[in-house]
Symmetry: C6
Subunit: 79 residues, 6 copies
C-alpha cells in the first residue's frame, strides 16, 4: 500500500506554467519520499544532493522530465 | 521465459493521476524484480538505493519516464 | 553487418501492455548483445549489473524508454 | 512555499528558437536555485560543473530536455 | 566542418522496425565517430565500454532514444 | 545576458536529416560553450571527454535528445 500522496490535488492541470513547474518539483520530491519515508534520513540526503554539483544537475534532469508531462497535460498553457 | 508480471492488471489505464503515479512506481520496481528475481538480494539493494542521494534521484528519473507513458495512455486524465 | 536480431518478430505491435513490456526488456537486452556478442562476457557483466543497485536502476531507465516507444506504436492499447 | 520564480514571464512561449533556448537554460538554472537557494554555495558548485567535462555534458542533457518541452509549446516556431 | 556522415542514406525512413533499430545503432555510433575521429582511439574505447556493465547499459539508453525518433518518423511501421 | 548564439540561424528547420543531425551536435556544443565560455578550458575538457568511453556515450545521449526535437520540428523530413 502506498501511504504517501504522490500527486498533490490528484491532477496534472495547473493554472499557469509556473504552477506546473512547482508541481513538477513536488512530484519529483514525493517519489523520493515514497521510496525513503524516513524524514530524518531524507533530510540528511537532501543536504548531500543540495551541496553536490552533479546531483543538483540530476535534480534538474528529473524536474525537466516531470515538467514535460505536466506541460503536455496542460496543452502547454496555450489557452 | 518471463515469470514476473511486469504490468499489474495488464493495462496502462487508471482512474486518476495518483493511481497512474502508483502504477509508474510499480512498473519501475517490477523491471528490477524481473532483472534480479532473488528477494533477499533485492532487499539488500533496496537498502542501498533508499539511503543514497544519487540513487534516489535516479529512482525519480525512472518513475518520471514511466509516468510520462502512463499519462499519455490516459490522455492525461483530461476527461 | 549486424548478425544479432534486434527486434524479435520485426514488429513493435503486441497484443497487450504486458507483452509490450516484455518486448521492451528484450529489445534492451538485444542492444547489449549486439554490442557485446560474447556470451561468456555478457554473462559475467549480467552478474555485475543484477547485483548493483545503481545499475539496476539504469536498467529500469532504459526499459522505460523502450517501452514508451512500444506503447506509442500500439496506441497505448486503447482499443 | 516556493520563493524562487521558476519560469521567467510565466510562459513557455517565445518569439524565436534562440529565445526558447535561452529560456531552457534559465529554467534549468532556476531548478538548481530553488533546490540550493544559497548564492555562495551555488557559485562554488557552478565553478565545479563548469570545469568538469562530465558535468558539462550533464548540463547539456538537461537543457536538451527543457528545450524539447519549450519547442513543443511553440509548435517548433513553424509559423 | 563535419566530415563524418551522421545519418547513412540521409533519411530516417526504413522498411522495417529491425532496419530502424540498426539505423539507431549506427546513428549512435556515428556521433561518437564525429566526436572522436581517431579510429585507433575509438577502437580502444570500444573495448572499454563493451566490457563494462554500466557503459553497456548506457549504450542501451542512447539507442533507445535514437530509436524513439526513428520509430516516430516511420509512424511506428503501422502501415 | 546571453552572449553565445545558442541556435545557428535561429531556426530548427533544416533541408535534410543529415543537416538536422549536424544542428543537433552544434546545439549540444553551444550549451557547453555558454556554460563554460573560456575557449582554453573548453579545449582541455573536450580532450577529456573525447578520450573517455563513458563521456562519449554521454555525448551520444545528449545529441539523441537534441535531434529528437529537431526531427519533430521538421516533421521528420517526410515531405
Amino acid at each position: 500500500m502506498q501511504a504517501t500522496t504522490l500527486i498533490p490535488g490528484n491532477t496534472l492541470l495547473t493554472a499557469t506554467p509556473e504552477e506546473g513547474r512547482q508541481l513538477a518539483m513536488k512530484m519529483a520530491r514525493l517519489v523520493i519520499k515514497a521510496t525513503q519515508p524516513d524524514d530524518a534520513i531524507r533530510g540528511k540526503l537532501r543536504d548531500v544532493y543540495a551541496n553536490d554539483a552533479a546531483m543538483l544537475l540530476q535534480v534538474g534532469q528529473t524536474v525537466a522530465a516531470e515538467f514535460a508531462t505536466i506541460a503536455a497535460a496542460n496543452n502547454h498553457w496555450r489557452g
